[in-house]
Every structure is written in structure tokens, then in C-alpha cells.
Amino acid sequence: MRALLTLLLLATAPLLPALLITPPAQAEEVVLGLSQDRVAITATFDGSEILIFGAVKREAPIATDAPLEVVVTVSGPSEPVMVRRKEREFGIWVNTDSVAVDSAPSFYAVATSAPFSDALSDTEDLRHKVSIQRAIRSVGATVEGAQAFTEALMRIREDRGFYTLQEEAVALDEQTLFRTALRMPADLIEGEYETRIFLTRAGRVISRYETVIEVNKVGLERFLFNLSREQPAIYGVLALVIAMLSGWGAAALFQMLRDR
């Protein structure tokens, strides 16, 4: 009897969440395609461009009250970052104040189909943490003017192409088909790159879709990275052997060339 009950519970389990949290009649949904859902970092990896495209599935006719907008975000693995500021002391520039930002994505790209503030209201931005400044989490900063430090973090990473905001970069046809291309720099960190697509009307999020792009080292890169972590002594010896052999090889080669 108990077995039968468990079986029954298991069979209905997948239905339960759907029944409990039915969204308020989600009229429009995202059907998504990615040009690639894996990024392989090879020795000659030189960045990657990912095409994100999709369609809006709807049961009802297109609502006419406000235009549909699409917001796409891709976020690399987050990590804490120490931001330091230099100040002049005794005539030289030294690091004085520092703020530990609790969590900042190593890569963050936002693309929208309209100017950002039109596509998403502040409240929705706050709720879903979409814009770059919302994606960075900094609490318990003790230094006065901690804001300047998170701004510096964003400025430095924007300059290096790690944080991008591309407004009106999502092409949207007939309020149904959308596509955008996101450029990922060569200096990528391994991990799961969380990808989110928001459909909005009048700044309100009406549908949200999430997927993951895997970024992994492959081949020789994978092998060397694993070896350095799992067998550091062997890795060190390997590095030394390569160094000594090539040193000896070059000396022998030049000796040969000179003797001829």
C-alpha cells in the first residue's frame, strides 16, 4: 500500500509545482535558440560571438497597449573582488582604502531592444537584477563613499570589454522574432554563463526565460589545467624538464651551427 502511494506521489510530483505557482496567465512565452550553448576554450581561442535568437509564443492576439520589448543578459561566474584605491602619501602613490565587493560577475552583457529605461522600469530592474550596477552585490562596505569603488569596478571592466550594455541591439520583428549577437572576449573564465531573456511591456516583465551557456577549456588547455591542480608536483617537474631540455637543445643547436 505504501509503495503504491509513493508511486502515485511520484507520478503527480512534476505536476504539483505547476499547479501551485501558475503564473498569472502567461500569455507570451519565449522559445529560444542559441548559435551555440557551449564555448570551447582551445589554445587559439580568440573570443566568441554568440547568436541568441528566438520567438515569442502566444495564444492570444498581440496586445496593443504597449510595444513588446526584449532584454537579454549573459552573466559569467560571480566572485568577490577587492577594489583598492591609491592615494598620495609621503610623495608616493600607495594603496590606502579598499572595499571588498561581495560578488561581481566576471563577465556581464546586457542587450535590449529599446533604450534600457524604456525596456525595463527601475522596480523591475531591482527585482530581477538586470542592469550592470544591480548585478554587482556589495553589502557591508565600511569605507565612506563605497559607491565610488563599485563604480570603479564597473568602469575598469567596461573598458576591458567584460561588462557591456548594448541598447537597441536586439532586433525584434513583428513583436515575435528576436535576435542579438553577444561578443565574448578572449579572456574568459570557465564556468556556467547564466543567460536570461526577459519579455517586457511598458517596463514590466511579463515573461522570463533562463538557460546556461557552458564555457569550458578543452584539449591541451583542459589537460594542463587539470594536471596543475591535481598533480602539482608532476606539473612542476614537467615545467622544469621542458625548460632545461629547451635550454640544452638551443645550446646544442647553436654549437652545431657554429662548428659547421
Partner: protein, 305 residues
């Protein structure tokens, strides 16, 4: 052509790195310095994380030093006995240096200390060497043979030992002390220490310049090999791909450097090294004095993945 470095997790231009390795290799062969004092800052500049730059730089110096030593061994300009004594001191010094480094790290400001170390030591060594070799050059132009100061306090110490290749009969204490001191600097500054070792051997131990270069390279091998292993095991920051790129350029450069070195007079060699040391010193010093364009710096506290 860009190459992705698996440990540094950055992509670099392969030809740029090959060129850097070659440049440092030429210097290494010419002057008997590992070139770390030049290579490490240059690697920072092209965007390699400092921890990886220091560790991989050490590995590259092993290669160019082996290449250089072999060239010198053939010409019998390596004092193996002196080198072994220096290496013994060097290992003791490196252990002490790591302890000092970790203590400073606990206080914070270790970056500043390392830069100040660079400026102070490069400044003193470069300045002294420049003045001395300028005087020597003037003297040799006037035709007077350069005097070698053989009799000093160094020769009054006990535990005397004969160093045949160098033509010296001195106490082992000064070479051991030099080794300890340079070993300490190696651990703190992430360099082979040749730029300190070379002048110390010439001016403190009174070794002939011809022998100094080969012997310095010989002792650098062991110290940098130990540093490489230490970094590979504790921090896992040695990037083999970066090292291979650097050392392909480096070993070839070292061979050319050794050739160039034999064509120049000892005084000329020293004055060039002095100028180079002073140049790097000035660059680092200016970085401390001038207002940086970006006052903020990022330091990701990445967990071991």
C-alpha cells in the same frame, strides 16, 4: 596570433611573448642576469596576473640560464665550486625570504614593498656599477691597467677555500652571505637575483668578470628551479604554455647574447648593464611618484576551482 593561456586564463599575442622572451634571453646571455627584473614587470604590463607572471618568469629563467651556462661551460668560464657555495647560501636565503614575504603579506602593502625593493636595489646597484665602470673605462683609455683590489677585509676571515677557476683563495663566509642575501631577494622580488649577484661577485668577492657571468647563471638555475617548484605546488600559478612561448624566444636570445657578450669589453658590458638597471629603476620610481591614470585596481579573490 592569439594564444589562450590555461593557467593565467588570458589570451596573449604569441609573437609579442616570443619577442619578450627573446629580448630577455639576449640580456641573460650578455650580462649573466636572469632577466627576471625586466621580465616580471613586462609580463604585468601585457596583462598577465602578477602571481602567474612571477612563477612563470622563474621557470623561463631556468631555461635561458641552462642555455647560457652550457655556452659558458664550453669556454670554461664557470666556477662550479663557487656556484655551489652560493647556491647553498641561496637556498637558506630563499626560505628566510618566503617567511619575510608572508609576514609582510599579513601586514598588507606587500606590492608597495616589492616595488620599493626594486627601486632601492636597482638604484643602488645600477648607480654604483655605472660610476665604477665609467671610472674604469676612463682609466683603460688612459692606458693604465685597471687595478684589482685583492686585499680587503674579505681576506681576513677564517674558513678559507681555494676557488681555482676564479683564481681566489678566500673565506667561504662572504660567498655564503652573498648567497643568503640574494636568495632572500629572490623570494621577495620574484627574480633570479643576478643583477645583485654579478656586482657582488665582482666588487665584494673580487672574482674576474669573465668567470662572473657563467657562475651567476649557474647559481641562478638552482634558485629559480626551486622557486618554480614552490610556486607550482603551493600556488599552482606556473603557466606552461606561457613558459614555452617565453623560453623558445629566451633560449635563442641567450645564445645570441653570449656571442655579443664576448665581443664587448668587460667595462662596456658593465656600463650597459648599469644603464639598463637604472632605466628599469627610473620607470618603477616614476610609477610611484606620478599620479596614476586609474586610481583604482581590482583584485579578484578567486576561490580555487
Amino acid at each position: 596570433m592569439n594564444i589562450y593561456l590555461p593557467i593565467a586564463e588570458v589570451a596573449v599575442n604569441a609573437f609579442l611573448v616570443l619577442g619578450l622572451g627573446g629580448l630577455v634571453g639576449v640580456l641573460s646571455g650578455m650580462f649573466g642576469v636572469g632577466g627576471g627584473f625586466l621580465l616580471t614587470p613586462l609580463l604585468f604590463f601585457i596583462g598577465i596576473p602578477p602571481a602567474v607572471a612571477v612563477a612563470t618568469g622563474a621557470n623561463q629563467i631556468v631555461a635561458s640560464s641552462v642555455s647560457g651556462v652550457l655556452a659558458h661551460l664550453r669556454r670554461r668560464t664557470v666556477d662550479l665550486k663557487m656556484g655551489a657555495v652560493l647556491q647553498g647560501g641561496g637556498l637558506i636565503g630563499a626560505t628566510l625570504g618566503v617567511a619575510i614575504f608572508n609576514y609582510l603579506k599579513s601586514l598588507g602593502q606587500v606590492d608597495l614593498f616589492v616595488t620599493l625593493c626594486y627601486v632601492v636595489f636597482l638604484g643602488i646597484v645600477g648607480g654604483l656599477m655605472f660610476i665604477e665602470s665609467l671610472n674604469a673605462l676612463r682609466k683603460s683609455k688612459r692606458g693604465a691597467p685597471p687595478k684589482r683590489k685583492q686585499r680587503g677585509w674579505v681576506h681576513a676571515l677564517p674558513f678559507k677555500m681555494r676557488f681555482r677557476t676564479s683564481g681566489l683563495y678566500i673565506s667561504v663566509l662572504p660567498p655564503v652571505a652573498v648567497g643568503v642575501f640574494v636568495g632572500m631577494l629572490t623570494a621577495i622580488m620574484g627574480v633570479g637575483g643576478g643583477f645583485i649577484m654579478v656586482p657582488a661577485m665582482i666588487y665584494l668577492l673580487g672574482m674576474p668578470t669573465k668567470v662572473v657571468v657563467g657562475t651567476s647563471l649557474f647559481q641562478i638555475i638552482l634558485v629559480t628551479a626551486a622557486t618554480t617548484m614552490m610556486h607550482a605546488i603551493t600556488n599552482q600559478t606556473v603557466d606552461i604554455v606561457l613558459a614555452v612561448l617565453l623560453l623558445v624566444g629566451g633560449v635563442v636570445g641567450a645564445q645570441f647574447g653570449t656571442r655579443i657578450g664576448t665581443l664587448l669589453k668587460a667595462e662596456q658590458l658593465r656600463i650597459l648593464l648599469a644603464l639598463l638597471v637604472l632605466l628599469v629603476c627610473a620607470k618603477l620610481g616614476l610609477d610611484l611618484l606620478l599620479e596614476p591614470s586609474e586610481l583604482y585596481s581590482l583584485n579578484p579573490l578567486r576561490e580555487a576551482r
